[in-house]
Symmetry: C2
Subunit: 438 residues, 2 copies
């Protein structure tokens, strides 16, 4: 037995992103038929579409027909608008009808993910009849792990697992065996919600039904692994402070990459300009006590860091359904307490830094190390508590107004907290240092 990972084919697959389009077509056409099939099926829809359009027209048909309807629909969705009709025409009649139906759905909802090729049974069949009937359907099915029991109007009555079917005497009726209380999705269910259903219930396949309870298709768990990876990538990129890429990093065009980063980076920069205004406002205090300037990076970054921790925690907990909108109050209570603890730790460290610096002979404190140390410490406490509150509540706010909570990125929270951090710091300094340095 050869292990796939080490074969020539696997290496080609890994290098795929890095090849030029011509090289791809060439290497693909040089492969033996079976290997070419394996490779083609494994490629992303985007790469499949590119490759297919680069092949001579006469060859396209066999490759497109290799795909299940849901995968064919994905490929066609990735192809340029003007090629879609021509690609659809390559399919046989049944597949074309199925694929056209799938193309009507959004790519990221149940309808766009599902396959119409599921195993069907009638409730009055015996187990033996059911097994023979499934053997007939076999070649046309996406998965046969579950068989769905439908009435004459295609309404979903229940589900039978193959395991149960196989373990039951052949003369029992399917209706005795089927489980009626089952998890299902509607055609519009969002893919994130679907991934959650799969994870919560350890499903292998999820039936999709319309408003009248008629079965439309199944989403299988192998498609969900991709969805989960994709959603996590999008969230991580948004948390990093940019637009989601929608494609592998190295496969994203350079200008596309720059554009997706420049937008947020510029927006954050413009927001951060408020710090210039704030600092200019405190110019006089700064001139009197340069020592204040010295601590500014330390203080504002602490607010940003604690805010980043809180926002990523909440964003992730929301994405996998652990935290819902109505939990905001529990989260807030928790985060205020956490903020007080974390801020307390940093306050002590900050105070120590000033006192030790002074003891080691630093001249920067101008004779008021304790007052300055307390100013730094109290500001840190305030900034960390504020950062934690901001970071944990911003994702709730975004979700409340139907924006993606993941946009509450570490850089966005840091930017929000920076201005406030300066105000907190100069206010505390005003109170504790007036009559001394100010």
């Amino acid at each position: 037995m050869t292990r796939y990972e080490t074969t020539e084919l696997e290496r080609l697959y890994e290098r795929w992103d890095q090849l030029g389009r011509e090289e791809r077509t060439e290497s693909f056409r040089a492969l033996p038929r079976q290997e070419a099939q394996d490779l083609f099926v494994d490629l992303t829809s985007q790469h499949q579409a590119m490759l297919l359009l680069d092949l001579p027209e006469a060859e396209r048909r066999i490759w497109l027909r290799l795909l299940e309807p849901d995968d064919a629909a994905d490929l066609i969705q990735e192809a340029p608008e003007e090629n879609r009709t021509e690609l659809l025409a390559l399919l046989d009649d049944l597949s074309r009808r199925e694929v056209s139906a799938l193309l009507a759905y959004e790519e990221d909802e149940a309808g766009g993910l599902m396959s119409p090729r599921f195993a069907r049974l009638r409730p009055d069949m015996t187990v033996d009849q059911a097994i023979s009937y499934l053997r007939l359907q076999g070649p046309h099915l996406e998965t046969i792990y579950y068989a769905y029991v439908l009435d004459h109007e295609q309404r979903l009555l229940g589900v039978v697992s193959f395991r149960d079917l196989f373990a039951t005497p052949g003369n029992r009726a399917v209706s005795d065996l089927m489980q009626c209380d089952l998890v299902s999705a509607s055609e519009e269910t969002d893919q994130e919600e679907i991934a959650r259903l799969f994870a919560d219930h350890d499903l292998l396949a999820l039936p999709v039904v319309d408003a009248e309870g008629r079965m439309k298709g199944i989403v299988t768990v192998d498609d969900i692994v991709d969805v989960v990876q994709e959603e996590a990538s999008e969230d991580i990129q948004k948390i990093g402070g940019m637009e989601a890429l929608d494609a592998p990093y190295l496969a994203t065009g350079f200008w596309d990459l720059v554009r997706k980063r420049a937008g947020w980076l510029s927006a954050l920069f413009v927001g951060e300009m408020l710090t210039v205004t704030a600092m200019a406002h405190y110019e006089e205090q700064l001139a009197q006590a340069i020592v204040l300037a010295v601590f500014i990076p330390l203080i504002i970054s602490s607010g940003g860091n604690s805010g980043s921790q809180a926002s990523t925690l909440v964003i992730r907990a929301m994405a996998i359904g652990e935290v819902r909108l109505r939990d905001w109050w529990r989260v807030l209570r928790r985060e205020i307490l956490s903020g007080l603890m974390l801020g307390g730790v940093l306050a002590v460290l900050g105070l120590l830094r000033v006192l030790i610096g002074d003891a080691l002979g630093s001249k920067v404190y101008g004779g008021y190390p304790t007052a300055i140390g307390l100013t730094v410490g109290i500001s840190l406490l305030g900034v960390v508590v504020f950062g934690t509150i901001c970071g944990s509540m911003l994702p709730f706010l975004l979700r409340r107004v139907n924006l993606d909570p993941a946009s509450a990125s570490a850089p966005l929270v840091a930017t929000l907290v920076d201005v406030t951090g300066l105000i907190i710091f100069f206010s505390v300094a005003g109170l504790l240092l007036s009559g001394k340095l100010l």
Copy 2:
């Protein structure tokens, strides 16, 4: 058909995290038998273990025996050390042997994820014989989507999908049908690598073989959805600048939550203290030109933001296998170019901010708006390029020394870039403003 999402049971499942241990046991024991089973199987291993130990000893056996060997092993791993032997004793002989074998593996490698209950066939069986034989094995199998063809020494020869088995005339031999070129993992393959294999090859199950090619078990895709979610959560939390939680946010104890955040937050704080040293070093320049202080938050935050973008991009691309160690040079080239573009955009915005501020009558520029504008612009370009390089290369560096690239968190990169940002800024100021403000 009731949809699972809206039932009483689903609501209980969702609230599970928020219930006290006693409430959980009570609500669980109040459920009808079938619903209790559904709930128990859906709970995380950690919750299963807690619940099981809270039930009267006489009841534990039936619940533990409900689980597949791999799930039972996970539960036992989550139970306190002192309860493990006693829990193992509740299993029947066969299961106990299987579970003990699984407990010998790490939880996050193939051996710890796999189930020993896979469908086996001999190569010389006919398709009809194979189907009957699988009907016998049915009740004991984890999945029957694939059947594995083994020789007399349990070496894996190939795989037959049920779909193919069902679609083939009954008198053909299994060996004619089986596919020999298959993806497999060894017992020590890490779960992240396994998730990658599933995603790359759209697998439903992955066979695990030992060094001699003997089949030990299968990992099924439903377990992989959990793995993928878990790995993404860990990465997101690390990117947010803290230790991974290992449990849902609301289920993590308060002190545990604080501890996992305080460590990194303090470490970052101590690192950020270098900015105090750097600023104190430039005290004289600051005293001469307070205007420099005014721009410090803007400049260092831009470095942090661009670094955060680059590091999250690379961390994610590494996690899903799009970028490997050997790609560092391609990534570096790309990121230097991106950094130049992005830095250029911010430099222009920064310069405009100064010139417009001056035109609107701000006194802060002391008669040298152009020189100050250029200082700000050039520093921004330098800081963004440096931030981008730092952010994109730190994950490679960490992986190179076998640390988790995800530890190159947004806050860590920001901290690294802050000190350098100050040095860049004061150096540029020294060049452009000497003889003017300095």
